[in-house]
Subunit: 457 residues, 2 copies
């Protein structure tokens, strides 16, 4: 009988977690002796609707990948059997057998605010290596950045009230739940319900009870009392299983040790106010009210504008899927190639998808703790501004002290603080100014002219 | 120096890939000697907007999980250190040390069309076990079903033209890309770009070339010729790097061995027609035109209505994130509990979130190869209709012959064929009739009355 497959990622053969064309192209380059050093840049062409900035996240998992990417013998046998590979030599498979990543990588650290068209990762490596790694890098950075950004919007809307990630069950599979928990913390969440994320990353974990707890026991009062007995210092009770206001009274009966109540349905403005009254009438003002149930930045903003006395927000589905903008269109494009010892510019002109050539850097102009504008220029072009891309990998080895997750979160919160309000408001935000340097524009025109002449005739 | 973390799932401790409250509740049940057999049902309360049916997917990964879920000693040490667990006894951790799933599971096989409120998985197990496994099951089924459904819409819109999954780079992390490839195949895609999915699942894999291939060589003509040299039987060329129509001519120069051309930008209706003319003028009508670039079911429908001569669609972002409906709100609710040898009904009344009690079955009425209506009733209530839930796990062991992925795809295609057109059209589909049996309604009223009396007073 067939055994069920886990579909967990193959730790000994991460090289095959890629698109098939990366491998056919790799074989093609190899067979043609094409081992030029190429530079690819990862950037987001357009920000999604409702996003005025992006918070970078996922670099740590990219660095894990780059230092662990290999091909297992079984995987190589499989590739070799593919009909397209019929004419590919043994030497190529021998090459893949010993494949490791040996290039240099520059990246904008995690937790940094970035904008459209800004390179956030720049890879310089033999073209085969740079090509194979594309897919994994894209999916890792696209996803975590998308979630860190959404989380930062939710946290911003919450005006200092705690936001908790409750989303694992609605994430795109079990691993996405863990990555989302990490990204939500970077975006400013205080804690997560995901136990593995807590275990692996040290994110504080919290949990209350589910409706099932209340339903398993004979009645609600009994279920509350029994929970309190085992968790006297952490008694947070879900009060909407049968009737929220009756539930609030049943919870209040626990007495002053009660830590919090959670409301997961109904009109949260009205219910939180009524529940607060019940708690206040019993001198239990210290009891926290936690709200959950399809919350997002707009609904939270609305709750707070309507003065709902809510202390914490448990946010799930909307945050871990970035529901209103569930994909970040990050791309990875060839911009330069060393050939015969000199840099050759590379660019494409596809309609609406033009790319800028050469190795670039992002320069941020900051005035008294405010981000003023960014300039995308050539590498080493400018002085006196802050270059955002820094070297993280040198000849295949990490040359960068990985920040802790708390440090990354601080970077993100600090970046948000420095981004002026018009650029970060939840709706109708203004476009933050990102310019291209005159030198880059001139170099691009020159390359476009040259490449047009060669290719379009 | 800190090593970068992979955040791959912990194969030896899948028990902690769960929400924290599952573990506090488990401890609470344990400490109170609550070992009743409980039945939980997984269902989707409302279908997302733009969805008139759901194709179930992910059961195989759930079965892998249920037969492998454990807690490692390190993970148990971590849980024990959590402040909330201060009063929890050693016995509970001893219990978790030996934890395995020992219950029964009924499920609707993968590839089946289902609707809102229909239980798709029913777990009957000691309440602690049934509780701990909730989170992983939800994220697995929610995600894969959401993608299989989106893929089936894309395939339906494509009217027999091949659909290829190109989405890995935009999926929610590297594992989501693999799970999405599986779900897209179930939904009717013919192939995937994901090499690991091809290796592990036997899905046909395809790939063409990227813009980088074209850019790496001296010019487009040279790059096309060089690709053809190594892949003479599989030459599919991307022609929009510089100018699509010039690119088409360059590709045609390969001669009759050329298999296909891919267009990834611009006005696909106009360009595909122009490209077709160029190919026809050179007697290369056999060359396939593949379109890609932010495609979804609506755009494909539009292309075909406008008679774009496109043979295959490469679909990425929109399909693997189910972009217009990126989350499926599947829930897992306690419906029944055995206590003192008899079944006790369980339900909640939370506003807008009422649940129906007792073990249920879904009965499908089929007339001459057409689905007519579904009835949600009690287990074993009806004869003469097809019950959709079948037993897949008995006392913790799989008692079900896992179908191959091809068989699951056939089931899905067959189900789509049997669903009358009004219920599956892309826009403004009618609601398929799903009723609850009179017996179930009567039982629900009875339970509601009883539970209200106990809990709301």
């Amino acid at each position: 009988m067939k055994e069920p497959k886990s579909l967990f990622l193959p730790e000994n053969s991460l090289g095959i977690v890629t698109d098939f064309y990366q491998l056919t192209m790799a074989a093609g380059y190899f067979e043609h002796g094409m081992h030029d050093i190429a530079t690819f840049e990862f950037y987001i062409r357009h920000l999604p609707e409702n996003r005025s900035y992006i918070i970078t996240a996922g670099l740590e998992q990219v660095l894990h990948y780059l230092t662990h990417v290999r091909f297992s013998p079984e995987a190589l046998r499989f590739i070799r059997q593919q009909p397209s590979f019929r004419r590919v030599s043994d030497d190529f498979f021998e090459y893949l057998k010993n494949f490791t990543f040996s290039g240099d990588v520059f990246a904008i650290p995690e937790g940094t605010i970035i904008f459209a068209e800004e390179p956030i990762i720049r890879v310089t490596a033999p073209v085969i290596e740079a090509q194979i790694i594309e897919t994994y890098i894209l999916s890792t950075i696209n996803f975590q950045s998308s979630i860190a950004t959404k989380a930062s919007r939710v946290v911003y809307a919450s005006r200092g009230h705690e936001v908790i990630d409750f989303g694992t069950r609605r994430a795109h599979g079990p691993q996405a739940g863990v990555l989302a928990a990490r990204a939500c913390f970077i975006g400013g969440c205080k804690s997560t319900s995901n136990v593995f994320a807590a275990y692996e990353l040290g994110i504080p974990t919290v949990g209350t009870i589910a409706h099932s707890w209340v339903m398993v026991f004979e009645n609600e009062v009994e279920s509350f009392r029994k929970y309190h007995e085992i968790f006297p210092d952490a008694t947070v009770l879900l009060i909407d299983t049968y009737d929220t206001l009756v539930g609030a009274k049943h919870a209040a009966a626990i007495g002053e040790q009660l830590k919090g109540v959670r409301i997961d349905s109904g009109n949260l403005v009205e219910l939180s106010k009524e529940v607060k009254k019940i708690l206040t009438s019993q001198r239990m003002n210290h009891v926290k009210i936690i709200a959950s149930g399809d919350l997002n930045e707009e609904r939270i903003d609305d709750l707070l504008r309507n003065e709902a006395p809510i202390d914490s927000f448990g946010v799930g589905t909307e945050m871990v899927t970035s529901k209103d903008a569930p994909a970040l269109g990050g791309i990875y494009k060839l911009v330069e190639q060393e050939h015969g010892g000199r840099p050759i510019p590379k660019m494409k002109f596809s309609k609406g998808k033009l790319t800028y050539p050469y190795k670039k850097q992002v320069y941020r102009v900051i005035d008294k703790n405010n981000f003023v504008e960014d300039i995308i220029g050539l590498e080493n072009e400018m002085r006196g501004t802050v270059p955002l891309l820094i070297q993280v990998v040198k000849e295949g080895k990490i040359c960068y002290t990985l920040p802790s997750l708390e440090e990354i979160q601080s970077t993100a919160l600090d970046n948000i603080a420095k981004l002026p309000e018009p650029y970060k408001r939840l709706k109708n935000a203004e476009n933050y100014p990102v310019k291209k340097s005159a030198v880059l524009e001139a170099k691009k025109r020159e390359a476009e002219h040259l490449l047009s002449r060669i290719n379009i005739s």
